[in-house]
């Protein structure tokens, strides 16, 4: 009995340590974004000064907008192309299908540094060069496999009789896809979309290679700012991003519950 209790207690301790490991740095950063001292000095004195000055920092704000814009467009493109691709891979048999499916995985494993270098060379070669458009193309290429893999995994659990049942009731291909198949893979598409958003929004390496001084994303801008000298504005912008992404995550979790029921 006693050992069980000790084990249970150790288990709880382990969970709390894990959560602390994950969240303490984030919480400290969030707190420091509200601290007067820019050098992490205590005692803690409340201020919103850094948020106000963040509002004045045009470079940081424009980089944030760039990041959001690119992440949203990347997500939309990847969701549309990715669900269409996973449907095609599910429905049709064609030559080279297995090969194509196998080709989806290596980009996930290839280090971004190498992908970034390759993209930089390629984009210069074909005349696209660097800038926001190049970053967008890069992000789509990086994120697309995630959406296809996640949506395909969801389709593996789809019962083909559902499409047959819909057809037997007079539904054409479009109605079958829209009303039966897509609703089924929606949780997979949403999860894949979230991945795509995260891959794009968090992307540093590829963005760094493809950005120019005026046309850059938030992670690259933060990196440049830190090199020049750290300011609590970085804490402020990071805190905002954390709050927004956590809200997004919780929302998605709700979606998952909705779509996961059979």
């Amino acid at each position: 009995m006693a050992t069980t209790r000790v084990l249970e207690w150790l288990g709880r301790l382990y969970i709390w340590l894990l959560l602390a490991f994950l969240y303490v740095p984030i919480i400290i950063m969030a707190l420091m974004s509200f601290n007067v001292s820019p050098f992490y000095q205590l005692p803690f004195e409340w201020t919103t000064e850094w948020y106000a000055s963040l509002w004045q920092n045009d470079q940081l704000i424009s980089a944030t907008w760039n990041s959001l814009e690119i992440a949203v467009i990347t997500t939309i493109i990847c969701v549309v192309l990715g669900s269409a691709a996973s449907l095609a891979l599910y429905r049709y048999e064609f030559r080279g299908k297995k090969f194509l499916q196998a080709l989806l995985f290596p980009p996930i494993a290839i280090p971004w540094l190498i992908t970034g270098t390759a993209m930089l060379i390629f984009f210069f070669g074909v005349g696209i060069g660097r800038g926001l458009f190049a970053i967008l193309l890069g992000h789509v290429a990086l994120a697309l496999p995630y959406v296809i893999v996640v949506a395909s995994a969801r389709l593996q659990t789809f019962a083909p009789e559902l499409e047959e049942a819909a057809r037997s009731l007079g539904a054409n291909q479009w109605q079958v896809t829209n009303r039966v198949t897509l609703p089924w893979i929606m949780p997979g598409v949403i999860a894949g979309g979230l991945f795509a958003f995260a891959v794009s929004f968090d992307q540093f390496v590829v963005s760094y290679f493809l950005s120019t001084p005026g046309q850059t994303t938030l992670p690259v801008e933060i990196y440049a700012a830190i090199r020049k000298g750290f300011t609590p504005e970085i804490n402020a912008v990071s805190t905002i991003i954390i709050v927004v992404s956590m809200a997004l995550m919780l929302l998605t979790a709700r979606f998952f519950k909705f779509g996961g029921e059979k």
Binding site: R167, G170, P183
Partner: protein, 355 residues
């Protein structure tokens, strides 16, 4: 509503002949069972009629109109799948409404029709539920309501009761039959359960290796099977092998077995006789000659299985194990090892060519 004619339909998958020159006429308003072991082609045939797959050759007509190249969504059929195939993302009412909704019927019409269909399957109050909140039997009814709401010309059922437990299955058999009579729809259902085929259908078609072995009313197939396969697949049968005598066979040991019906076979040809276990009477002594039960064999009780309302005796005779089913009348209990005499009438015996 309409009848279905399948004429000389063949379908191969690679080297495998799933359907081999099958012709069946499904009468308008009839209840038809396609019976066969797995791999016999019964589901392939149903899918050809539904239009999920097209035949390599042959003709399929619904209501006199050739449909063998018409895709399923244009055939106006209703289908119930083995696993129900209810749309998990829709409520029960939306599932039932699907067929009318894709046609673009007005909402008010759909609502009224859905209620009517749900009432017909006695689920009138469950329209708001989700499929996962229903029991197996209820899902089955929803699948049926969804299939018939579009007023299809034919109702196709693929092992519709296979996923239900025994008690529920018997209830659903009666229910399905009632609904079918009520709307008078031509119904074709695939099953591997011979009892289901016998109790529910007006006609049965037995398939084996892609070929139609025999078809007709259940009584006819049961009482007058045309092949050993038909005799043993639909019900139980004792099979005797020997040489034809014209009106029966002669067993290798010289004993004659008289058959009252069956094939016309030239004397001397290899032939078999089949008799149902419940047609054989069992006696403990050789009483006076019994002209009605002209077939007589002596044997020894080797095993008895008590099944409540009846007992099954396994009687050994000349190296062959014969099965005899005796109704429980409360008197005749035979011991294992006991010498017995088996008698049955030629009318209970069917002569057929050896396969």
């Amino acid at each position: 509503m309409a009848g279905v004619q399948v004429s000389n339909v063949s379908r191969s998958f690679g080297a495998h002949k799933a359907l081999d020159d099958v012709s069946i006429d499904f009468a308008d308003g009839g209840f038809y069972a396609l019976l066969g072991p797995s791999g016999s082609g019964k589901t392939t045939l149903l899918r050809q009629i539904a239009g999920f797959d097209f035949p390599d050759s042959g003709r399929i007509a619904i209501g006199g109109e050739s449909v063998e190249r018409v895709p399923v969504e244009k055939r106006r059929i209703g289908m119930v799948f083995q696993n129900y195939a209810l749309f998990p993302n829709m409520s029960v009412a939306d599932n039932v409404a699907f067929g009318l909704s894709v046609r673009g019927e007005p909402k008010a019409v759909i609502a009224a029709e859905v209620q009517g269909a749900l009432d017909l399957v006695q689920l009138g109050k469950l329209g708001g539920r989700r499929p996962h909140q229903l029991s197996g039997g209820q899902r089955q009814r929803v699948a049926l309501a969804r299939a018939i709401i579009t007023k299809p010309r034919v109702l196709l059922l693929d092992e519709p009761l296979g996923a239900l437990d025994k008690a529920l299955r018997v209830g659903m058999q009666i229910e399905l039959k009632r609904i079918q009579r009520e709307i008078g729809i031509t119904t074709i259902f695939v099953t591997h359960d011979q009892e289901e085929a016998l109790t529910m259908s007006d006609r049965v078609g037995i398939l084996r290796d892609g070929k139609l072995v025999q078809e007709g009313p259940p009584e006819e197939i049961y009482n007058r099977p045309k092949s050993e396969f038909a005799a043993t697949f639909l019900g139980d049968a004792n099979i005797f092998r020997g040489e034809s005598t014209g009106n029966g066979i002669r067993l290798p040991d010289g004993t004659a077995i008289f058959a009252g019906s069956g094939a016309n076979l030239a004397p001397g040809a290899k032939a078999i006789c089949a008799v149902r276990p419940e047609r054989i009477r069992i006696f403990t002594d050789a009483a006076a000659p019994d002209t009605a039960n002209a077939n007589v064999l002596r044997g020894e009780v080797s095993k008895r299985i008590f099944a409540g309302n009846s007992s099954t005796y396994f009687v050994e005779r000349g190296g062959q194990m014969l099965k005899v089913i005796v109704q429980n009348t409360g008197v005749d209990k035979l011991a294992e090892g006991q010498e017995v005499v088996l008698r049955w009438s030629p009318e209970s015996t069917v002569l057929m060519a050896a396969s």
